[in-house]
């Protein structure tokens, strides 16, 4: 069964067509990296997949449950109750964390499991503590987000997403807001998740990281998936746009 399936997705903002016929299928345990120049539609793709944006055309399903179907050439969304159930399947880690500043680290992790998923508080707390341990943040459970470094905040955000036990986890440039010396600690955590067989779709500008961690890489440009394949095939491709993109990165 496909954990995520998107077919022929199109999305425009006014006259600007940002996604032009994108399809993406992800199996259990796969790690997919999405790379590409700024403005190519990577974030928009993640936002459509996580229901933050509505797509104009195309379909979307998680673990065989349809969230979006096509009828007469247009996307049709499932009923709110069905979408609520499907939302339990995935989580998203943002570039700028978006932790809840008025909640302690622990409460950031357990609030949704308790109040949305209605799980017992003891169980949620115990699992949250285990997650924090895994993230190397066990001693920060009672701290508030503003007391943490960016790297620590991002690890809390990852733990918060994991606390709901999603099947698929999306990352939108998880390290772009971080100083270089803090990037490593976040990438390490993501790598651990990959080793633990978490299904992940990661938008990133960290090419070395993408090469090492990904099963498959998608290179997007101007709203299209230009290249898709294993890290070797994508990075060694002689596709003109890909070479141009890598060349620009090296100059930076």
């Amino acid at each position: 069964m496909n954990y995520l399936e998107m077919n022929h997705v199109r999305k425009s903002f006014g006259d600007l067509e940002v996604l032009k016929d994108i399809s993406l299928t992800v199996q259990q345990g796969e790690v997919i990296s999405i790379i590409g120049p700024s403005g190519s539609g990577k974030s928009t793709l993640l936002r459509c997949a996580t229901l933050l944006e509505t797509m104009d055309e195309g379909t979307l399903s998680y673990l065989g449950q349809a969230a979006v179907t096509m009828e007469q050439g247009h996307s049709v969304y499932a009923k709110p109750a069905e979408l609520d159930a499907i939302k339990q399947c995935f989580g998203l880690v943002f570039q700028s964390f978006h932790l809840f500043p008025h909640y302690s680290v622990l409460k950031n992790l357990i609030d949704a499991p308790i109040h949305v998923q209605k799980r017992p508080k003891e169980e949620a707390t115990q699992e949250a503590m285990e997650l924090l341990e895994q993230m190397g943040l066990a001693d920060k459970a009672n701290a508030y987000p503003h007391q943490l470094s960016g790297g620590q905040q991002q690890r809390v955000a990852i733990a918060r997403a994991l606390a709901r036990k999603p099947e698929v986890l999306f990352f939108d440039e998880p390290t772009s807001a971080l100083d270089p010396e803090l990037t490593g600690e976040v990438l390490k955590v993501i790598k651990q998740l990959a080793e633990a067989n978490m299904t992940m779709i990661i938008v990133t500008h960290e090419m070395e990281f993408a090469r090492k961690v990904s099963d498959r890489i998608l290179f997007m440009d101007k709203g299209y998936v230009v290249l898709e394949g294993t890290p070797e095939t994508v990075f060694q491709s002689d596709n003109e746009r890909m070479r141009e993109f890598l060349g620009k990165l090296q100059k930076e």
């Binding site: 229901l51 933050l52 943002f94 949305v116 997403a161």
Partner: protein, 215 residues
């Protein structure tokens, strides 16, 4: 006339002043939220009407609004509600005026919350009501506390406007005594009362602000 006698005569007026203050806050603070939501509504008509309401409330004197509220049953329906209507009219007048001010404060606070907070909440599965009550509102309260404090302090002083409708709140009593006794002392006592009242309000709000400064 001694300080103590003046104080005891002012006491009944003080009680009225405090009632106006408490009741106005009690009604206008929640009402302000509905007005703020109307002001931010997607529906154009609702948005326009609330905007009009807010601009009238903020653009005309409170004194005039109190008189309009007091006299409108007579002018519109030729009903005379008599003195029974006086106190409710005062509370109603103050409430609709202060709700407009609170609404604008709430709106500025709500709009100051980054979009990412809503998106994070949505992804975690919170309902709209949960998102507002658990995530947005606590942050809004912290942001708006200083502006609300200002408004509350203004209200303490504005209560004296109730005299417009011949409501014998504390300041009216002070004026009566001052006129009868040709003495400034009642005014001094009244000033002291307003000052202490506001000092209490400020201290209370400061404590609240401190309590919210943990993040």
């Amino acid at each position: 006339m001694s300080f103590q006698v003046i104080l005891s005569q002012l006491a009944s007026g003080m009680l009225l002043t405090i009632s106006i203050f408490v009741l106005t806050l009690l009604f206008s603070m929640p009402l302000g939220f509905f007005v703020a939501f109307g002001r931010m509504a997607n529906n154009k008509v609702i948005r326009f009407l609330t905007q009009l309401y807010i601009s009238v409330m903020r653009g005309t004197p409170l004194m005039l609004q109190l008189m309009v509220v007091y006299f409108f049953p007579w002018y519109l329906f030729h009903i005379s509600l008599g003195s029974f209507w006086r106190f409710p009219a005062i509370i109603l007048g103050f409430t609709i005026n202060y709700a407009a001010y609170f609404a604008e404060i709430y709106r500025s606070g709500i709009e100051a919350i980054p979009k990412g907070q809503y998106e994070a909440a949505k992804l975690l599965g919170y309902t709209k009501a949960q998102t507002f009550l658990r995530i947005i509102l606590p942050q809004v309260i912290k942001i708006i506390l200083p502006a609300v404090t200002n408004e509350v302090i203004t209200l303490v002083k504005d209560t004296s406007l109730a005299y417009t409708l011949s409501c014998i709140e504390m300041f009216s009593v002070a004026k009566q005594i001052a006129a009868a006794e040709t003495s400034m002392l009642p005014f001094a006592v009244a000033a002291l009362f307003y000052y202490l009242f506001n000092l209490l309000v400020s201290l209370g709000m400061n404590r609240l602000e401190k309590k919210m400064s943990y993040y």
